[in-house]
Symmetry: D2
Subunit: 258 residues, 4 copies
């Protein structure tokens, strides 16, 4: 039976007169969309538009909750109480569920955005807060979690379905963490390097780190970034490379998640 993997990207990250990313093109490449929910980006009208497009393309839809910080685009850490994080996450999931009603589809996953995702990867209180929001609003929602992070642990502890995430276009260090974007080479722009990394991750469960070591890393879904100029080209290369290697790229609900 063919190996299956998911490709996901962040979307609907404009706001009012502002546009960002290239959602129309990206929806033709990825299999799952993380839809901004109005806090770090995204307004109801943009959410509605991108949800409809995604549904038409057969792309599965997830909530992409973030901090309530439009100025910082959700990339600044905010020291919130875990309860506030939980209810803020539930609120954003619910808001997106209303939008998917327009398209006759369901929200099927949750992936935290930016600083919220980074904090929850390290901080068990935040990871559990997001997990409890998922469990309360719809316990069938898939919790997309950085592989090996507190989020993965929280999802398992709460009995949720977890999709372990890896990155197509980011270097890793020996600990399995992403190399800081501030360091040269941390973001891969060369399609060939991207294809090497994703095929190795999917077929061999391995990553070659920044320093050339091989480490183990099992993933269910691969993130492509939408806001780099090269985003669509990188995403296409990843998809074509995976398909050339015999891997099926499928929406998150079609994965055999435990």
């Amino acid at each position: 039976m063919a190996i299956r993997i998911n490709l996901n990207a962040d979307m609907a990250e404009g706001f009012g007169a502002y546009d960002i990313g290239n959602d129309d093109a990206m929806l033709k490449v990825v299999a799952s969309a993380n839809i901004a929910c109005g806090f770090h980006a995204g307004d109801p009208t943009i959410m509605h538009r991108v949800v409809k497009l995604a549904a038409e393309e057969g792309v599965s839809i997830g909530a992409h909750p973030g901090f309530n910080d439009l100025w910082g685009f959700g990339r600044r850490r905010i020291d919130m109480r875990p309860d506030d994080v939980e209810y803020m996450t539930a609120y954003q999931i619910g808001a997106l569920q209303a939008m998917t009603a327009y398209a006759g589809v369901k929200v099927t996953h949750v992936k935290a955005h930016g600083a919220l995702n980074n904090m929850a990867a390290e901080n068990a209180d935040y990871a559990m807060a997001i997990g409890r929001a998922i469990r309360t609003v719809d316990r069938d929602l898939i919790y997309v979690a950085l592989a090996g992070s507190e989020m993965e642990r929280a999802g398992r502890e709460l009995g949720l379905r977890v999709a372990r995430e890896g990155f197509c276009d980011r270097q890793y260090d020996e600990d399995g963490n992403l190399v800081s974007r501030k360091l040269p080479g941390a973001v891969l722009h060369d399609p060939k390097a991207v294809v090497d990394q994703v095929v190795r991750m999917v077929l061999e469960g391995e990553i070659v780190t920044r320093n050339g070591r091989r480490i183990k890393r099992q993933v269910d879904t691969l993130c492509v970034h939408g806001d780099e100029p090269s985003a669509v080209a990188v995403a296409r290369a990843a998809r074509e490379g995976l398909e050339a290697a015999g891997v099926h790229v499928v929406p998150l609900p079609d994965l055999p998640l435990s």
Copy 2:
């Protein structure tokens, strides 16, 4: 069989460190709560808290969507496109639905807030926009509409259940509109005057206007305001006056709405 009527009040209208109204006391008087949804007031944590309290009191829960204008508390008219109004309304309903999941209850009605309510009462495009949001997100939601307004018409046209709303503590003019708050006497503060008005409206389907005329007005639900200092006393007087007249005060879903 006893006559039934609903009493509703706006709630959860604080934000962060800010508090307003007296939700705990009001939840012991009314039968339905209109929960602010984060746009004109209300944050996820406050929504969560008040939803739980309401569920414990057996008070039915409605969304209270408003303009995205915290500074103006949703009381300033904003000239939005009807589509934006529709998706903004759907968004807020969905956000509240996630919060009711914590209490194991459902959102059962929608009542627009402040300037959005006033505009939709007069403007068919806005009234229909709110109605379409309701129909899309959950067509069983009751559309609370100023009796005789464009909202009532829109709700009927869309095949929704409509609850016609009257006001306990506001004077009416001959056209059945509320007298502007800017005029003296427009808000009733005397519990006896409130009781007279609500009992007459419920038992006789009549209002005595500012100028002493009687006009017809059928209502299903009566609004009490939460943000006046006298709010709780006025609400209690209304409830006790109705019960003394043999009227049953029930949650919105228990009304025989057409």
Copy 3:
């Protein structure tokens, strides 16, 4: 002595991760910049950056206050009390003054944005509110006012310096109002048509309306829009056309305003 005219454009209208317009190119064409002040667009960091660039280019700096409505980009009418409009305007002017301190220059004009500008053009209360804010914060600030509008009248009544504004790239009707953007041809994209219009306005004090009539219209400053794709080309054409006709394009403070 040569005829002098001003060219102005709106700038700094990004926010956080969002960018809009082409400020760097436009600063090489216009003589005055209207800087968004954080309400409808613009954050402190963007304001700081564009103010420094403008100062380096010798472009004079004005406040571009708008409604507190990032979602609507300040283009939606909000029914505010005139006092709130006044203090909101003063607030935004002051905020920009702090930013110009970084560049060692001064704010020298005020031009309202979008719906606030449109409302103040028609509504004397709003026009006076903006004028009083100017008079209080710095009575030497030039009030940029649609020629013939309530703003022009308010500025004169308050004893302020007024710059009467015309539009490079918009059709006019017989009453001297702008033709609605919703009508075909309302926005001029052909550089030749733009040059004809601006040269005629400056040299002859006349406009040819949508229907081919000539009406009188004296202007001191001409607005070019920054957010159309053709904005920079249109602005350059206007400037070059004016200079070819012997007109000097100068910053607002260099105009002989009454």
Copy 4:
């Protein structure tokens, strides 16, 4: 010559329909007001009102800049770039300067709010960012800095006038830091304990810590909190206790600051 000290309190921390604190009463007790500037709290209309009242009472006016986080009331740490902190601070100072123009007075000090104040006390980059904003906008502004903090150091390094701040109603630990509000007894509610602490601080330059030790602490200004129910009573007790001990309570500009 009599010993002089300043008493300051945070004010204008409402927003739109929301009110908080008791500004009218507090303005009769303190000598300096820290005015919220619209980011963590405060809208232009509230700022205008409180500035006028303060000027009428002879209370000196300072900017109270905070994080752009109304939901968190500026009490949540946000991980901002120091440049963004600097421009955000300058923006807020400028906005308040426009408001003081209405009262014919000047902004004479800057005191950061909540989490921004706490972060700048520990973090030299933030402390310098606030200091540079002060130096650029008006180098005569007094930098109110927790005594012994990075803010005090930054102010001195930048050649600014610094007012070292102590707290009337908070316990200190041996390091001179405030005891966390989460610990019992951390906030002093007993007027007598408050008087003891402030008189000792002013006359002897000493604090008795939570554990009964005496430590040295020179202060120029004492903060009273405005949002506790006991705030006005505590502030009055502090003022009367100081005056009974022969200390003059004066506005910040009347202090002999170095």
